[in-house]
């Protein structure tokens, strides 16, 4: 394959562009929006590279393939913070932590002292925690911008319009917009908030397990924290008061200083997902769809992109590949 078209310049499209470009393929990326921005759901991502955590509810491929992500992003020059992630619960939900520990791997159990040593900001607030040592996080917006610039310098062509119908190898990475052809793709709404709380000095993502109001907080530097994320079976893009109220209340329960934070941003989008919430490569004629990354965009796009490029360039039959029945 000498040349290929990519539809969509979100995290999936950019990762596929990187993998193809690295194999010497001349790549043109079509996306009506010229730069990464709020039109795409990658923009609203948390940026956690936390495959072991996801193992609580996600199928095995997510845990396995997600472990490629941190090194992949680093290899593209993106700043990845490898300090692990922390999981805590409020006092009365302590058994949630036991259940969570039972269903995941790759964690250390911390008592209050070890937690305080790791994240002094949480000292005295939680008497137990889990530390997922091998996990990492990145700033999604910085990562998208960086990757796009790098691709452009490497000669990838970006065209700020919809692709016209055309023959030739195509990688459709349009996310939810591809529902016109991928009938069982659905939207799962996520709402998030960004706070500025310069007094809080967390250095790694913290997850609060809660039966009703689960929360994660990802430090973005400069006193900024991303709070996420709701998960609602809907593809509307309305930022509901109730959702934000729940996120903010949970953040306040995690650390009261969040009550004094500046509310910088409230965001919403719908994640593209298939019924099993696993991503897919779907071959339809000369097109390979890379879609259904659900809430694992930055975690799984590198592996999916690699597999899509291998399938197209080397004729491999990767897992998660669905062949068109027609």
């Amino acid at each position: 394959m000498r040349q290929a078209r990519i539809l969509g310049a979100g995290v999936a499209g950019l990762c596929v562009a990187a993998e193809l470009s690295a194999r010497g393929v001349a790549v043109t990326v079509f996306d009506p929006a010229p730069q990464p921005g709020p039109h795409g759901c990658s923009w609203w991502a948390g940026g956690m590279l936390a495959p072991f955590y996801e193992g609580e509810t996600a199928e095995a491929p997510v845990v396995r393939l997600g472990q490629e992500a941190a090194a992949w992003w680093e290899s593209k020059g993106v700043e990845v913070v490898r300090r692990g992630t922390i999981v805590v619960t409020l006092g009365r939900d302590r058994r949630e932590l036991d259940r969570f520990a039972r269903r995941t791997e790759g964690h250390d159990r911390l008592d209050a002292d070890r937690l305080a040593a790791l994240e002094p900001e949480l000292a005295g607030r939680f008497d137990q925690a889990l530390h997922f040592l091998a996990e990492a996080h990145l700033d999604p917006r910085a990562a998208l911008a960086h990757l796009r610039d790098r691709l452009e310098r490497a000669g990838v062509d970006f065209v700020a319009e919809e692709a016209r119908a055309d023959d030739g190898p195509t990688f459709d990475c349009r996310g939810l917009a591809a529902r016109d052809v991928l009938r069982d793709l659905r939207g799962v709404k996520g709402e998030m908030a960004v706070l500025r709380a310069p007094d809080i000095r967390l250095t790694r993502p913290v997850r609060l397990l809660h039966p009703r109001y689960p929360l994660y907080v990802v430090p973005r530097g400069d006193g900024l924290f991303m709070l996420g994320a709701t998960q609602i079976e809907s593809c509307d893009r309305v930022r509901r008061v109730r959702s934000i109220l729940e996120l903010l209340s949970a953040a306040y329960a995690l650390h009261p200083a969040f009550g004094e934070a500046e509310l910088v941003e409230i965001g919403v989008d719908a994640r593209p997902a298939f019924p099993d919430n696993l991503p897919r490569l779907q071959r339809m004629g000369e097109t390979i769809h890379v879609n259904g990354l659900f809430r694992h965009g930055f975690l799984l796009a590198p592996a999916l992109a690699r597999m899509a490029a291998e399938a197209a360039c080397d004729g491999t039959k990767p897992e998660l590949m669905h062949e068109d029945q027609n």
Partner: protein, 256 residues
């Protein structure tokens, strides 16, 4: 079992929230044979049928859909949600929840009766989520409900049947009213116990959705429900204090 003139084959009803994925949800229904799926319409009501894709997946399960008014805290919210549910799912059935307490999610008995009366007046077939309170049950039946859904324990707690005396009294007071124990079940044995006590069905969600293997847990519940129902129909023996040997004692000196 008949509810509002509709024959119900399966005595297990499952909620559709909180599963790891819709595919796992579908597996849980397949393995359990559950015949009724409850669906929350409130939160996803984006106005333009925003939850359509998920609702389509629920419809594809091929089971009867019982929409609910979960997380409604007032009569007005519950009534509006019920009206929306009727349009979305084209059914007069509504599982009526009017929550009165944020922490325990306990039903608001006064709002529940009021909302039930309004909805019955509008032609709904109301499945009220209630407590084991006999007086409240009486009022709900007066309001026109033909089925009751008493809780086992607060929603999502998995505590089982926390007031066995109350549930037994409720069952005895209204022997001909279909009753579904709804909420609070965590284990199949608790479901079996409810069925042994003569309840007609059980409804649960969290216990299955949050299990490590939801489909296996759903099957576990299905078998327990079947076992409990068989036991109830078989007319169990009464417990007694004196041991009674199950093999004959003839030929032995038993009155020494």
């Amino acid at each position: 079992m008949e509810i509002y003139g509709t024959g119900i084959a399966s005595r297990l009803m499952l909620g559709t929230a909180q599963y790891p994925s819709p595919a796992v949800l579908a597996d849980a229904f397949r393995r359990s044979g559950a015949g009724i799926a409850t669906v929350s319409v409130r939160r996803e009501s984006g106005g333009e049928r925003a939850g359509t894709a998920f609702w389509d997946l629920v419809r594809e399960l091929g089971v009867r859909v019982l929409p609910n008014t979960a997380s409604c805290h007032s009569v007005r919210e519950a009534v509006t949600t019920a009206q929306m549910a009727r349009e979305l799912f084209d059914t007069p059935w509504i599982k009526l929840e009017v929550i009165g307490h944020a922490d325990t999610l306990q039903p608001d008995p006064f709002g529940l009766v009021e909302a039930a009366r309004i909805l019955v007046g509008e032609g709904f077939e109301v499945f009220p989520y209630t407590t084991e309170d006999v007086v409240l049950a009486d009022r709900l039946l007066e309001a026109g409900c033909e089925v009751l859904m008493p809780w086992g324990a607060p929603i999502g707690t998995g505590l089982g049947l926390t007031n066995i005396y109350g549930l037994r009294t409720l069952r005895a007071q209204f022997p001909d009213v279909p009753m579904v124990v709804d909420a609070g079940l965590g284990l199949p044995s608790q479901a079996a116990m409810a069925m042994e006590m003569g309840f007609d069905a059980v409804l649960l969600n969290t216990a299955v959705a949050k299990a490590g293997d939801p489909a296996a847990m759903a099957e576990g519940f299905a078998r327990a429900v079947e076992a409990g129902r068989l036991a109830y129909e078989a007319d169990p023996m009464e417990p007694r204090d004196m041991a009674a040997p199950s093999t004959p004692v003839i030929g032995r000196a038993f009155l020494e």
